[in-house]
Symmetry: none
Subunit: 201 residues, 4 copies
Amino acid sequence: VTDKEKRKIDILEYACRVFRERGYHNARMAQIAEAAGVSYGLVYHYHKSKENLFDAILEKWWGGLNEMMDNGLDAHEHVADQLAVIINYFLDQYESNPDLVHIFITEVSRSSANLTPARLDMFKHWIGRTESLIAAAQKRGELRDNIKARYLSTFFLGALETMLSTLVLNNQPLRGAAQKKRIATNLLEQFFNGALPPKGK
Amino acid sequence: VTDKEKRKIDILEYACRVFRERGYHNARMAQIAEAAGVSYGLVYHYHKSKENLFDAILEKWWGGLNEMMDNGLDAHEHVADQLAVIINYFLDQYESNPDLVHIFITEVSRSSANLTPARLDMFKHWIGRTESLIAAAQKRGELRDNIKARYLSTFFLGALETMLSTLVLNNQPLRGAAQKKRIATNLLEQFFNGALPPKGK
Amino acid sequence: VTDKEKRKIDILEYACRVFRERGYHNARMAQIAEAAGVSYGLVYHYHKSKENLFDAILEKWWGGLNEMMDNGLDAHEHVADQLAVIINYFLDQYESNPDLVHIFITEVSRSSANLTPARLDMFKHWIGRTESLIAAAQKRGELRDNIKARYLSTFFLGALETMLSTLVLNNQPLRGAAQKKRIATNLLEQFFNGALPPKGK
Amino acid sequence: VTDKEKRKIDILEYACRVFRERGYHNARMAQIAEAAGVSYGLVYHYHKSKENLFDAILEKWWGGLNEMMDNGLDAHEHVADQLAVIINYFLDQYESNPDLVHIFITEVSRSSANLTPARLDMFKHWIGRTESLIAAAQKRGELRDNIKARYLSTFFLGALETMLSTLVLNNQPLRGAAQKKRIATNLLEQFFNGALPPKGK
DNA sequence: TATGAATGAGCTTTCATTCAT
DNA sequence: AATGAATGAAAGCTCATTCAT
């Protein structure tokens, strides 16, 4: 059973790479099989269909993200720390599993073409959780409340995703803690304090 | 001539709608013909191929955007006013031609799979112009310069595009100056002053 | 009426060129119209269909050939003179109207794909007439009669057509009476006296 | 492997039949599939495209012909025997594989429309080899040398191909050694000794 | 007579999926 | 479990022909 599971996951990972390299629509099942070093039919033995394969990948992605949201965030932390956790999660994922992030950025987060209702729900759920985080912080007085939580979270996620998007579109790898640190710091800085020069200047 | 041109544009607009509704890959030429109320072959009479049709749509989009960047912005204006113009352009476009914005958001701004080199160039050009705007403002002292212009412009565009993206993914129409005003104000407020509560509070 | 007829013939001649240049199947009605400097629809005004156009060309060809067979040959002449007339007719035609000969050689004389029953009949009729010529000469004792007339005429026509075919496939023009003379002489020499060296040698 | 190869060849043979029956342009991939009793897609599984399929057929033809020219001819034989080998090869092929000969006669030997440069080269190569054979015989004094080798070989091949062409256009089968013998004898007789009655007569 | 926009049947090809082994 | 041959529905595109003006 473990062996079987392993094989299934193996194929999934190669599929992930092919989907990232070529996009969902341009990816061929034959290419996935070839990448996994496996026969054509075996892909179907382990995964019902192309769509199924894609959903399994998304599940993996959402699983990790939700796990982080469930366990990685301390509700009593300051929102700055919480958002830092989110940012770092994305950056870490991009470093360790760039294909997955790539797919999320290009095929899910702006898709609409591939967004089945079920997938859209997952996405909205994620947006919703971030919004709740922001709203709670507003209640605690950590964030201004004259901008709706929905807006603030949209701006935050937009900045984060688009930051990743530039990396993704340039096929730019992310190496070294320094770069991650800089991205996170700048993102948080701008989000909390804005883009204006310091008052004293 | 006018009549002919009109027909061509007509087909383009219906194609725009179909591409928006179904995405480039899922859009069928037959659907475009049907939507436009013309025969199958006529679409090809006016547009060389499916890809061509899509490119014509993108050209229209980039044409408008570049025109706005060329003529709509006063280089001596404060960057806040310049960014406001950009925001309003997107919102106005979304109001008057939601399909076009939809396609830009879903098929271009994060695609990578469908992004031919030529298309990617257009996109990078647009990113570059915004970055220049930000950099100039930094030089004039209107924006903090301890965050790179590339980062600031990414955050700004990310917030803007994702804001539109939420409208797009919900198929949410945008009507009334009030809503547009609110979005623009909030976006600018957060971008310039950040999300923290006012100091005095 | 004369004017109308002229226009019709005019289009036919340009069609002839296009059919020759591209072959029947690869020839486009639009190309014929363009070559003739005439609008798309006008070709159809004068000629019912593409097939019709092609048939009109063949009719022209067969017309000339039959006319030559009817009036150009003296039944009492020696067969050598008769065959010389045939050879010269083909060579003259190739000189003055290479398109027509080209089409006969490439699209008719070996086609079978484009050969409708009607067209095949025309072809067989032509073969038949040549055979009769040969048979008559055999009766007159001008040709050996231990090879069937059908064979002899096939060999003769094969040599002639294939000779033209090499010109056609190389797009080689035929200029000057000298070359024509040489071809005709050689062809007749071989046909009548064979390829062996003279006995006396 | 043998089984797979067999299937591929099987499809090729049915394709050959359909191409012969309808000509390259009028042949439909669906018809080939149907004739072979396989599904639509399987034809493409084994052969890349329609053009490819056709090229494979030609390759088969040229392969056999070149093999015969390479190994079937003794350079020291009298030219009469060499030409007899060529004639018999064509006749044998027509008997055992009439489709292949049919295609050569109708789609290659006079085509020009379908003749890609690569195909034309094969054809010219074949013509060239025959010419060399004739030229060598002229040097040995076995053939008159006051007619250029190019002409003599054209006349010979023209007679041979046209002889076959009459069989082909009439869909006339060739059975029995007697008929083959007669054709070969007559062809050689006329080619070497000409069509005139014997001197002594 | 003359135009060229409009039509749509029909073509080759692709590729996710199934199935016999 | 594993293979890859076999399937066939659809897709984009072409182009002879028609038709309104």
